[in-house]
Amino acid sequence: MKEPLLRVRDLKTYFVTERGRGTARAVDGVSFDLYPGETLGIVGESGCGKTVTSLSILRLIPEPPGHIRPGSFIEFEGRNLLTLSPPELRAVRGNRIAMIFQEPMTSLNPVFTVGDQIAEAAIVHQRLSRRAARARALEMLRLVGIPDPEARLDDYPHQLSGGICQRVMIAMALVCHPQVLIADEPTTALDVTIQAQILELLERLQAELGMAIMLITHDLGIVAGSADRVVVMYAGQVVETAPTPELFTRAQHPYTEGLMASVPRLDRPPAARLHSIPGNVPAATDWPSGCRFHPRCPYAWDKCRAEEPPLLETGGAGHTARCWLVAEPQRRMRRS
């Protein structure tokens, strides 16, 4: 297999909560790789740490209250992003690794035109002249499929719809042709029809520009349609990782099973009630002992409460799961 482009190892991002009520271990020892040109889906419920993971890569966590623990390691182009000096970090942000966010309407600055906002990164990173940067911005608007791009260049964000704003965000993120695009819930705030358009756009741009995409989402449907590989997160940890087809056919972790059972599917009878995972994600200040999923897990036994499982090889290529069931599959049988 190819060398990974981005290597995340033992990432720990903690937040000191107010009034000293403890430390929220939002991301607690996350490791994964991102390969050139692939789309990696990162999936999990709200509060599982997927957004904090994505923000930590570009060190966009507000400090204080957040901090990335020493010992964490994010390797990109042979360097640890977590130890870069501010100028070195700026040269990566928006240039080699770019990011788009969940709320396109509030992620654009209301007092500058979209043309200026797209051109800004090109001026800063590539030292283009104002005129050249404006031409580049126009080119980008055309690339992301915005109708009448010349006129949109001088529009302000409030004059545009949410879908167009997200296209502008994508244009802005890709203006320097980054190696990695981190997309944090890029379609969550948009209408369903617009969602599909944005995902298609990302796919097309990936084919044209060849960047790797880290797609953060809570929607397994999006993952099934767009991602090559999937990382499932729960309670600040990676609980399962597998190529997409493998995950959808042979999910090993009960949490992943639960997520899948809670999505409506065309190949199941429509009358069946959708499954929901009992309980909520526990508080990040107080993760459960042993396996963090055990209070909500239908299979949990003594070992799960006492001992935290490592990521175990399941036998499938590149498929690991953080579950004792991988070592003792007979326990799954006994219950059913």
Binding site: L58, L60, P64, P86, L89, R90, A91, V92, R93, G94, N95, A98, M99, F101, E103, T106, S107, L108, N109, P110, V111, F112, T113, E120, A121, V124, H125, Y156, H158, Q159, M169, M172
Partner: protein
């Protein structure tokens, strides 16, 4: 834009007219009359009656009001009872004095205040922010006249670096060169302008810091950081531009002060401006002067909010007047 401006101006004229009417009524209804004999001024009642007749004060209030408004519409604000000069002449000397003091004070207030607020916000919750936060809170809560007296005591009296009052050297001024005159005015201006400016800057800085920090937490600032912009550019361009909007409102509210003057500070520093004029006129029941001062003040209030609206539409594309977005 033009239609909007016409509507605003019509409303402005109505407001000013209402203020003049109310002031006229209130000051005439207030107890006390002009030309009362005082300890130093023993007046024959017959003389007082003569003066009242001379200025038309013996006529019914309605007649006086109509006469006043008609004269005002002809550009004649009347004649000051106590100064015995036409009010137009009086204003010609006091208005520039007040403009000078208030203008300098406003400049210190907003430039220094905005700069301190920006410095604090960029270092929020660090030591420098805490120290400056306490300093601005102190300035903001100090009464201006007290700070004025302390500055006079320290820099005027003990150190004798600055004059203790007045707007120019009464003896030497006429004989000074142009440069010397400018220097003399600036030297007299320093303490009162600094007093007003510092107290204002305390409030402005606190306001600006809060506005900046609110903007700094917005999604688009995270976007700017994710783009790889320098922190300086994030603060000075992306954050400041958005945080200026509330400051413009503050500025619009402060503008009237340019002409109303600061009564207490003009009194402490014997500064011959509008504030002192208006205060003296109220004590002597100098009706036309009081009304003229209220007229100027209301014109400035209306003008201030108009200027703020125009500045707002320049700074914020979402409320730009005329083309595009929503109308204000």
């Amino acid at each position: 834009m033009t239609a909007w401006l016409v509507r605003r101006c019509a409303a402005a004229i109505a407001i000013v007219f209402a203020v003049v009417t109310l002031t006229f009524l209130l000051i005439h209804l207030a107890p006390g009359t002009p030309f009362v004999p005082s300890d130093e001024r023993v007046l024959d009642p017959a003389v007082v009656d003569g003066l009242r007749r001379q200025f038309g004060l013996d006529r019914p209030l309605g007649v006086q009001y109509v006469r006043y408004v008609v004269a005002l519409l002809h550009g004649d604000p009347g004649y000051s009872f106590s100064l015995r000069r036409p009010i137009g002449e009086v204003l010609a000397t006091t208005v520039p004095n007040t403009l000078l003091l208030s203008g300098a004070a406003l400049a210190i207030d907003f430039l220094l205040g905005a700069a301190i607020g920006l410095y604090q916000a960029a270092r929020a919750r660090h030591r420098a922010d805490v120290v400056l936060g306490n300093a601005t809170l102190f300035l903001y809560s100090v009464p201006t006249f007290w700070l004025g007296l302390v500055l006079v005591l320290v820099f005027g009296q003990h150190l004798a670096w600055f004059p203790v009052g007045g707007d120019r050297n009464p003896v030497l001024y006429p004989s000074l060169s142009l440069l010397g005159r400018l220097g003399d005015r600036a030297w007299h201006l320093a303490l009162p302008a600094l007093t007003l400016g510092l107290v204002g800057a305390g409030g402005t800085a606190r306001f600006q810091r809060a506005a900046l920090l609110e903007v700094a937490g917005q999604d688009f600032i995270r976007t700017a950081r994710a783009k790889g912009l320098h922190e300086r550019r994030i603060w000075l361009v992306h954050t400041l531009r958005n945080a200026l909007l509330p400051l413009i409102t503050l500025f619009g509210l402060a503008l009237p002060f340019l002409l109303t003057g600061a009564v207490l500070i003009e009194t402490v520093f014997s500064w011959p401006g509008m504030g002192k004029l208006a205060a003296d006129a109220i004590f002597t029941r100098d009706y036309p002067v009081v009304t003229a001062a209220a007229l100027l003040a209301s014109v400035m209030v209306v003008l201030g909010s108009l200027v703020a609206d125009v500045l707002y539409s320049v700074a914020d594309p979402r409320i730009r007047l005329g083309k595009g977005g929503a109308r204000a």
